[in-house]
Symmetry: C2
Subunit: 341 residues, 2 copies
């Protein structure tokens, strides 16, 4: 069934959501590594770190004190890239074009326990994180001036994360970001043509083929998309067509939290380390439109390639041309699948 050419010869694969390509060079996996090795910080962390500005009861850099929170704690980013009451202006001067951009950036602590990241947390505690995401998406999205809510997590120093305390971020803003706009357009085009969800149809095909499915439960699929860019990139998506995370019922929230737990635990086993990644949820913009064509999903972009210390560099050719990978999506799936308990 599987097209073996994809495992043997260089090719490009098309991303149906963004309309862009990825270059795959399966023959190159034997390349010896002579490049940079990262440090790994694998020391055990205490449950409470007096020097951590995210731990309960501690002071943040701006002098504010965190409450003695028991599960999830959310606050507005002390050094937010986007601000609410910023001056409105626009510039259109020959070939220079700029627009003011306002927004609200928040930090969301997943747990008061400094030592726990998502894979270490109980599913019932991940459920609380998901509920907090739902709540933020709803409240921020309801504001007139917020047309998009980006929920994400940067995990690990290698991903620019400045604090190991388990936390994510939410950047909400007036306009729709580049990457979201690409997916917006592709999904709209498919919806208009077929009156069905692009990602939903894709999931049906993947479930039939069963070549890139890592895990599934009643409501969610955990898979490596055909067009994955990062060596161990994975997507979690609802089987039902849902435009945003608010459409999940309680049972689905638990199934989603379970999927996150299963995946992040497999990740930690892969290279025997606290596995770094950036993860993010793409869902319908909160721009007041129906956005029926949107099918929400969460993607994990992990930088590691061969071990806890060897990462994939998206540089040179990737920056100027097209993302490139050696190990195929199917090879990555086989490894991750074998690590699920």
């Amino acid at each position: 069934m599987m097209n073996t050419d994809l495992q043997d010869f260089s090719h490009k694969r098309y991303n149906i959501l963004t309309g862009e390509w990825v270059l795959v060079s399966p023959h190159r996996t034997k390349r010896p590594w002579q490049g940079k090795q990262e440090d790994v910080a694998n020391e055990a962390r205490p449950a409470h770190d007096p020097d951590c500005y995210l731990c309960a009861g501690n002071k943040r850099i701006n002098g504010e004190q965190n409450p003695n929170y028991k599960d999830v704690f959310i606050f507005t980013n002390d050094f937010a890239a986007l601000q609410v009451n910023t001056k409105q202006f626009s510039l259109n001067e020959g070939l220079l074009k700029a627009e003011s951009e306002s927004g609200i950036c928040k930090v969301i602590c997943f747990s008061p326990d400094h030592s726990k990241s998502l894979p270490d947390m109980d599913v019932k505690d991940i459920v609380k994180v998901v509920e907090a995401w739902q709540n933020e998406y709803q409240t921020l999205g309801a504001k007139k001036e917020i047309n998009h809510v980006q929920i994400f997590e940067n995990k690990g120093a290698i991903m620019g994360c400045s604090n190991p305390h388990p936390h994510g971020q939410i950047w909400s803003q007036s306009s729709i970001p580049n990457e979201v706009l690409k997916k917006h357009k592709s999904q709209k085009k498919h919806w208009d043509a077929h009156k069905s969800s692009l990602l939903g149809n894709y999931l049906v095909q993947e479930l039939q083929l069963n070549e890139r499915i890592i895990y599934q439960n009643e409501h969610f699929v955990v898979l490596t998309p055909f067009w994955a860019v990062w060596p161990f990139e994975v997507m979690i998506a609802p089987k039902q067509h849902q435009k945003n995370i608010l459409e999940m019922n309680m049972e689905e929230v638990t199934a989603y939290a379970e999927a996150i737990s299963v995946l992040t635990n497999a990740y930690d086993r892969l290279f025997n380390c606290s596995f770094p990644y950036s993860a993010g949820i793409h869902q319908a913009p909160t721009n007041g439109e129906a956005n029926k064509h949107w099918h929400w999903h969460m993607s994990f972009y992990p930088p590691l390639l061969r071990s806890a210390t060897i990462k994939k560099f998206m540089v040179g050719y990737e920056m100027f041309g097209t993302p490139q990978r050696d190990i195929t999506a199917e090879q990555a799936v086989d490894r991750l699948k074998s690590l699920i308990k």
Copy 2:
């Protein structure tokens, strides 16, 4: 003259070449740094390293011996991501779409001197590198199966460069990469509407404003584009409308080499280190079309943000949303300009 709102309030700027946006947060430059610090390898290097597989006379991993080259040395990448005689196939199965991709990847050593990077080389030696680029663009581009030639350099371990010996790469291939396609379309649209070069018109405007020009000589402009993404991103572009590097005459080649020398020396002075970057030349595809709308240019994407050890991470929000920067293009220009001797 300068719009001061751009220096004070968060906004997005439009990239006329790619059609995408960058988020700028000038108020955030005061953010304290708590994140990862890189190692710097600032040790002096010998002119010849017996363990370097790029040095003259040494053996490469595949057993081949490098000649005793005196200036530039080019060979086919021993672990090429693209290969010439690869199987041709295409897959179109429901929502899965893939195409075989063939090509030729080369490595180009800039100098036999292991200790010298571009800023350390004489302009007359950089001229030899430029001539080698011209030659490769022409020869590779003339092949029927090669429709695009990407010339680039990854410099520094932080940019995934596995060997400090001064070298770049050329990946040439049958299809046109994502980033090039974006610029192809924008330039075509402008050309069809105005019968003039999009980038050429932009350069005229920038030269008039003189707010983002770092350096110029008779034939070239070195500037930070209005929409720059990386903290110290810079573009070198010919003042005359030229679609590719073959259109330069001898005098222009020297002026271009000089511009590269001036810029890379300013870079090295910025944080007092051998300044890492990925640099690449975007020019007309070699697909047999006239491509009159193309105006070639070379871009430098350096990762450093605050010092030789603190880089900008393009993660989370950037991966899922839009690239983001704190320091504005104009602030970066002021700093770089002051470092030109």
